[in-house]
């Protein structure tokens, strides 16, 4: 499973490198050497396979022609899944890999109920952190995972309807703008971070590799015990507001990407979470406050 970096780069440049993250096996081919370097730095410690393995998705990062490869380099993405991405400049290369993989999971995955949510675990307590972009869920999940929690995902909560368990999908965390220096300080080392990609449609983006221990346990599911909806507001007073079962249910439905496709089993699974988990909304003004509120809520409400 551990693969020599030269061999991995050789696979990436050629027919594609097989990488397994959680339940998903992807074959990734990257035609730009600079993006291959970024990729291999970011995905250090992830399981690469010599193959053959049965593959979920094929992702190709390429140049449309020689002009776009050498003269004015531009990166195109092929996910084989009705994508229509605007090509990015080569300097933002890793973004295209991440966007492509996100797209494939967001539109392809129906075996798990997908939440647009971060997920973390400690002492067998799974916590779902659902939120829209910009509410700080990535920063909060990453902060927790560098503070004693096991990281599942900052973007895709994956719940199996049949077992009611959450599955890890620990891809790198995508940090934006002000949260980048905050996380760098929190982690205390530059090693697990990517370069900072400036001038993207979402501002500056930087990726953070989850702690290695989370990668080693990427096949170990957990039962959800709490749902915490974060609201980041730099000027607000810290607050924990419990949610009723009904509100908890509807907010879960709203955060799920494939609830309607899965249908009845998803309805039952979400109703079960709303009934059995404790749910709240937290308002916080700094990463430290957010983490303190999560720990406090769990300590006081989950036995």
């Amino acid at each position: 499973m551990t693969m020599d970096i030269f061999k991995a780069e050789h696979h990436l440049a050629g027919p594609g490198l097989l990488m397994g993250v959680g339940p998903i096996m992807t074959r990734i081919a990257i035609k730009f050497p600079s993006i291959r370097d970024d990729f291999l730095h970011m995905y250090q410690g992830y399981p690469f396979f010599e193959g053959p393995e049965i593959t979920d998705y094929h992702l190709t990062i390429f140049a449309k022609n020689l002009y776009r490869r050498y003269l004015r380099p531009q990166v195109a993405i092929n996910t084989l899944m009705n994508d229509d991405f605007v090509p990015l400049p080569e300097s933002m290369g890793l973004l295209s890999v991440e966007m492509g993989m996100n797209w494939q999971v967001a539109f392809g995955c129906k075996t798990h109920i997908l939440f647009h949510a971060g997920v973390v675990e400690k002492n067998g307590v799974g916590v779902i952190i659902p939120a829209i972009s910009g509410s700080g869920k990535s920063t909060l999940s990453a902060g927790l995972s560098y503070d004693g929690w096991r990281f599942f995902s900052d973007e895709f909560g994956m719940l199996k309807a049949e077992t009611g368990e959450l599955y890890p999908y620990p891809r790198p965390v995508s940090l934006k703008n002000e949260s980048i220096p905050v996380m760098k300080e929190w982690v205390g080392s530059d090693a697990p971070f990517s370069r900072e990609y400036e001038g993207t449609p979402k501002g500056t983006i930087c990726y953070l590799r989850p702690p290695i221990a989370c990668l080693e346990e990427m096949h170990k599911p957990v039962r959800p015990r709490a749902v915490i909806h974060p609201v980041y507001n730099p000027n607000a007073k810290s607050d924990i507001k419990p949610l009723t079962e009904t509100m908890a249910f509807f907010r879960l439905v709203r955060s799920s990407a494939n609830y309607g496709d899965i249908g009845a089993p998803a309805f039952r699974a979400l109703a079960k979470i709303a009934k059995e988990c404790v749910s709240c909304e937290i308002t916080y003004s700094s990463l430290e406050e957010g983490i303190r509120l999560v720990n406090k809520f769990i300590d006081e409400n989950v036995a």
Binding site: P23, M25, P52, E53, I54, T55, D56, H58, L80, G108, C109, K110, T111, G260, D261, I262, G263
Partner: protein, 373 residues
């Protein structure tokens, strides 16, 4: 006597794994990892993954498939089931919108297969809801749908005019809270298509379902699928259409009078040529058991040798259009020419030459201008 299919490609295609599995589902249990990767990839590109699930379940093979394959195919199964559910619900909504409309509303394609519970609906990915009404009722039906909140998807004046004067359907309608496209047809081929059949014959022969809707009679349903593929379609990635025809031939063909009625119908509607192609390629790719007498009768409408050779070449290249066969890499150039050759063919049949030139120049000009912006 027409020559049997004999090109270098045709042999490769015969050995294509996906085709073999579609014909003989139990072969699924013998696939190795490489085989599965190839089959899953091609089935994905040809929108046939859910069909593999259906075949596996009907043949009791599902639990014998590797876990990873079950996982990957389950995605397709759930997605297709969701789409079919959406189509059924949209039918319910259209039925409600047309409550006061008393003339025939005929479901065609996916919606018809689903309501009739035909084999070809199994694992079929339907995206749009297609209905057929008599041309004289077109405005009335459109008004009912607009009143019920449907919105026309085509705003451009030229496109609106194109649809209304020459197309076989209204500009697509969509209800903003459900986003399923409803296509209201008044015939099965472009008005200007030289093969356009007498649609009144089809409408008169349609059969009532429970509730509001009708479907075409069996013979016409198969003819419609054939016309859609071999006259109007671009034929790209169209193995699933051929499979649909194969399924109908198998399912309807058990009735003793079916084949005679079907061939009579094809000749009456002057669709002998596309029917010949369908029978020829179903037999070739899917081993469809077509009675000898039917084949002999169909061959009366076969094209000349040269045209047939060309059509064979184009079809074999596009039917299973991916990857290397027998370790040989296929030429991207010939694949490109085949696909585009068939695209041009479908347009050639669709309208008279001068009109085609005017239409394509306009399209080209618009695309060109869009690029400049």
């Amino acid at each position: 006597m027409t020559t049997p299919v004999q090109t270098k490609d045709s042999l490769d295609q015969k050995q294509n794994l996906l085709l073999q599995i579609l014909k003989t589902p139990p072969l699924m249990t013998a696939l190795d990892i490489k085989g599965w990767n190839q089959v899953l990839f091609e089935a994905h590109m040809l929108k046939l993954r859910a069909r593999l699930v259906y075949d596996a379940e009907v043949n009791g093979l599902w639990s014998a498939l590797p876990d990873k394959v079950q996982q990957i195919l389950t995605n397709a199964k759930i997605e297709t089931a969701a789409r079919q559910r959406k189509i059924m619900w949209e039918m319910n909504r259209v039925s409600r919108a047309l409550n006061d409309f008393k003339d025939k509303v005929i479901l065609v394609k996916g919606a018809a297969y689903l309501t009739r519970n035909l084999k070809c609906a199994g694992g079929r990915d339907s995206v749009d809801l297609d209905i057929l009404v008599s041309r004289k009722n077109l405005d009335i039906v459109e008004n009912h749908l607009l009143l019920a909140g449907y919105v026309s998807q085509v705003l451009d004046d030229y496109d609106q005019q194109y649809y209304r004067e020459w197309a076989h359907e209204l500009p697509p309608l969509v209800h903003p809270s459900r986003l399923v496209e409803v296509d209201v047809h008044h015939t099965i081929l472009q008005v200007t298509n030289r093969l356009s059949p007498d649609i009144d014959l089809m409408i008169n022969a349609s059969q009532p379902l429970e509730g509001h809707f009708h479907t075409l009679c069996d013979e016409d349903m198969l003819l419609h699928s054939i016309v859609h593929q071999f006259v109007d379609g671009t034929l790209k990635s169209s193995l699933r259409n051929l499979l649909e025809q194969h399924d109908m031939m198998m399912e309807f063909g058990v009735k003793p009078e079916f084949w005679t009625k079907f061939m009579d119908r094809a000749e009456a509607l002057r669709l002998g040529r596309p029917v010949f192609y369908s029978l020829r390629y179903c037999a070739h790719f899917l081993d469809t058991p077509i009675p000898d007498a039917v084949m002999v009768r169909a061959k009366k409408n076969a094209p000349g040798r040269a045209v047939q050779k060309l059509m064979d070449l184009l079809i074999f290249r596009t039917m299973v259009p991916f990857g290397a066969a027998n370790g040989r890499r296929r030429s991207k150039l010939t694949d490109f020419l085949s696909t585009n050759g068939l695209y041009i063919r479908s347009h050639w049949l669709r309208m008279p030459p001068m009109m085609l030139i005017a239409h394509l120049s306009r399209k080209f000009y618009r695309r060109f201008m869009a690029r400049q912006i």
